[in-house]
C-alpha cells in the first residue's frame, strides 16, 4: 500500500485478519502453511476458540502454542485431538466432505477463481516451475467452501490461468456441478487490497470489499481482467487492537 499516512498495520496484517474473521467458531478448517495457518491460529485465539484445524499431515484438531513453519511440525501432533495417516486425512475427512473451509494460495488466479500453482508459461518449457498441486485440487473440490489468500497484482490475477491446478468456478455457472465438485468453491478471494467474491449469477470474481487505505482503482489496476466492482462495495473494518496484538505475538512482530 502506498497511503501517504502510514496505517498502524500492514497490508498482510489486514489480509490475515480478514481471513481470520471469515472462520466461524466450531467449524472445521483445512489449513495450509503460511498466511492461512496464521489466519486460522489467529481465529482460534480470538473469536473462534472452537475452530477445528486439520493439517494435511494428519493432525486433526491441532492447537499449536506457536505458529508452525511446516504443515507437519511436532507441535501439531502433540496438541492434536488425534493424528491419522495421510490417506485418512484425504479420504475420510476431506473427500468425505467433512471440512467446512479450505484455504488456498495461488501463483495465478483467474476471473473465475481457478488457481494455478503448477507452472507459469508452457507446461513443457515453463517460465517458472512452481511446487505443483499438493492437496489443493481436492481441497478446491471437496471443502464446503474455499477462501483464497493471495496478494493482488496483474501477474497473479490473470484473465486465464496458464495451468488449472485447482478448479474454482471453471468457465462459469454450472461447471462445478458438471464436474461433480461438491463444495461451493472459492467464496472469497482475500487480497492485500480487498476481497473479491464470485457474482452469484456469472460466477465471475467481483470486488466486494476494500481494505483500509486501498481504492477500487488500485484493485482494478492490480487485476489482469476488467475487474467489476460491486455496487455494494463495502469497507473492511480495521483490525482491532486485540486482533493485532494476538497476530503480532504469533508472527513475532511487535
Amino acid at each position: 500500500m502506498t497511503a501517504a499516512d502510514p496505517l498502524p498495520f500492514t497490508a498482510d496484517e489486514v489480509m490475515t485478519v480478514a481471513a481470520s474473521r471469515a472462520l466461524a467458531d466450531g467449524t472445521a478448517c483445512f489449513v495450509g502453511i503460511g498466511l492461512p495457518s496464521t489466519a486460522a491460529n489467529l481465529a482460534l485465539r480470538t473469536h473462534a476458540p472452537g475452530l477445528w484445524m486439520i493439517y494435511e499431515s494428519g493432525t486433526l484438531g491441532a492447537s499449536p502454542d506457536a505458529l508452525p513453519l511446516s504443515i507437519g511440525d511436532g507441535e501439531l501432533a502433540e496438541t492434536a485431538d488425534t493424528v491419522v495417516p495421510v490417506t485418512e486425512v484425504f479420504n475420510y475427512w476431506l473427500q468425505a466432505g467433512r471440512i467446512d473451509t479450505g484455504f488456498l494460495g495461488a501463483a495465478q488466479i483467474d476471473r473465475f477463481g481457478n488457481i494455478n500453482t503448477t507452472v507459469i508459461g508452457d507446461y513443457a518449457a515453463p517460465k517458472v516451475r512452481l511446487p505443483g498441486a499438493g492437496g489443493a485440487p481436492e481441497i478446491a473440490a471437496s471443502c464446503g467452501r474455499v477462501i483464497v489468500i493471495v496478494r493482488q497484482s496483474r501477474r497473479t490475477f490473470v484473465e486465464r490461468v496458464d495451468f488449472t491446478t485447482s478448479v474454482g468456478h471453471g468457465s462459469g455457472p454450472g461447471d462445478r456441478e458438471r464436474l461433480g465438485l461438491r463444495g461451493a468453491g472459492p467464496v472469497q478471494v482475500i487480497t492485500d487490497l480487498g476481497v473479491l467474491e464470485p457474482d452469484p449469477g456469472t460466477r465471475e470474481l467481483v470486488l466486494t470489499r476494500l481494505h483500509p487505505g486501498a481504492t477500487a482503482e488500485q484493485a482494478r489496476a492490480a487485476t489482469g481482467w476488467d475487474l467489476a466492482v460491486s455496487p455494494d462495495l463495502a469497507a473492511t473494518p480495521e483490525p482491532d487492537p486485540d486482533e493485532l496484538a494476538v497476530l503480532r505475538s504469533l508472527t513475532g512482530r511487535g
Binding site: S70, A77, V83, P85, V86, G132, A133, P137, V167
Partner: protein
C-alpha cells in the same frame, strides 16, 4: 536384517530403481538419501509426495531420471531450486516429471500396499493434471454411474523411511506424524528403515505405527538420520537449516561445493554402526 546404512543401500538400491522415500515433514530419511548420493546411484525414479530438500539434493547430485510427486517445495521457505533447475534446464540432467495431487499419491501408495492395480478417488476433475499426467484416468461407478478418477498403484522397487526405533528382530516403531510411511513400505518390493536407535523392546507408545519385521528388508541405525527434519521424541525440526538451504541450493556452484563438503566428503554412515549407537531417550 540389521545392517550398516552403507551396506543396506548397496544391497537394496540399484541404478534404475524406483525409489520411494517418505516422511511427511517428520522423519524424512535424509541420511539415507545422502548415502544414495555417496554411492553414486543413477537413473532412479524418485517417488515422494513432498520432494523436500532430500530429493533436491539427490536431484542436484544427478541420481534421478524421473520424479513422481505432488508438491515440490521447501516447506515454509519457498522453492526447491535443484528441482526447478533440473525440471526447467535439465541440470545436471533432464528430469522427467509425473505429477499428481497429494490425495492421488496417498491413494496410489494405498493401492500398492493393498495389492490392487489401481485406486479410485474424487479428484482431479476439471484440472489440467488430467491432460498432462497419463496415470490419471476416468472410471465409472458400476452402481451409481458417477465418474471418478482412477490412479495406478505405486509399487516401488524399494521404499526408504526413517523411524524412531527398531527392536533387534527388525520390528519398527514410529509415532507422531506417520504420513504414508506404512503404505510406502507395504507397497514396495524391498524396504529399508533407518532408525534413531535399536532397542531390546519396543515399549508401546500412543499413536505408534508398527512395521512388522517381515515387511522390512533391512534396518539401519542412523541416529539423527532425519535431520534437518525431525524425529518426534528425539530432536526438533531445524527450521534454520531449511531456510539456509534456499541460498545454498540457488546456485549450481555453491550447491556443488556444499555437496562435496557435506555429503561426498563425509564418511559413509558415520553413526551407522550398531556399536556406535548412542542411547537416547524418547
Amino acid at each position: 536384517m540389521i545392517l550398516p546404512l552403507d551396506r543396506a543401500v548397496r544391497e537394496l538400491v540399484h541404478d534404475g530403481d524406483t525409489v520411494a522415500m517418505e516422511g511427511f515433514t517428520h522423519l524424512i530419511p535424509v541420511e539415507a538419501g545422502h548415502e544414495v548420493i555417496r554411492q553414486g546411484r543413477r537413473d532412479l525414479t524418485l517417488v515422494r509426495m513432498t520432494p523436500d530438500i532430500v530429493y533436491d539434493r539427490m536431484i542436484g547430485a544427478g541420481c534421478a531420471r524421473k520424479l513422481v510427486f505432488s508438491w515440490g517445495g521447501n516447506p515454509g521457505v519457498g522453492s526447491l531450486h535443484r528441482f526447478r533447475d533440473a525440471a526447467a534446464n535439465g541440470w545436471p540432467r533432464p528430469l522427467e516429471l509425473e505429477e499428481h495431487s497429494h490425495a492421488g499419491m496417498a491413494n496410489r501408495y494405498a493401492a500398492g500396499a493393498a495389492g490392487l492395480p489401481f485406486a479410485v478417488l474424487r479428484g482431479y476433475a476439471g484440472t489440467d493434471l488430467v491432460g498432462r499426467t497419463a496415470t490419471i484416468k476416468p472410471i465409472t461407478c458400476p452402481f451409481t454411474g458417477q465418474e471418478l478418477a482412477a490412479v495406478p498403484a505405486l509399487t516401488p522397487d524399494v521404499a526408504i523411511v526413517h523411524a524412531q526405533r527398531a527392536d533387534r528382530d527388525g520390528n519398527v516403531q514410529m509415532w507422531g506424524i506417520t504420513g504414508v510411511q506404512k503404505e510406502a513400505v507395504l507397497a514396495a518390493r524391498r524396504a529399508l528403515v533407518t532408525v534413531e536407535e535399536v532397542v531390546d523392546d519396543l515399549e508401546p507408545v500412543p499413536g505408534q505405527v508398527i512395521l512388522p519385521s517381515r515387511v522390512v528388508t533391512a534396518v539401519s541405525p542412523a541416529p539423527g538420520g532425519a535431520r534437518p527434519s525431525y524425529a518426534h521424541g528425539y530432536y526438533v525440526r531445524d527450521n534454520d537449516a531449511y531456510r539456509a538451504w534456499d541460498a545454498v541450493s540457488r546456485d549450481r556452484e555453491r550447491f556443488t561445493a556444499w555437496l562435496n563438503a557435506e555429503v561426498l566428503g563425509a564418511p559413509s554412515g558415520p553413526d551407522a554402526g550398531p556399536d556406535d549407537r548412542e542411547e537416547q531417550t524418547a
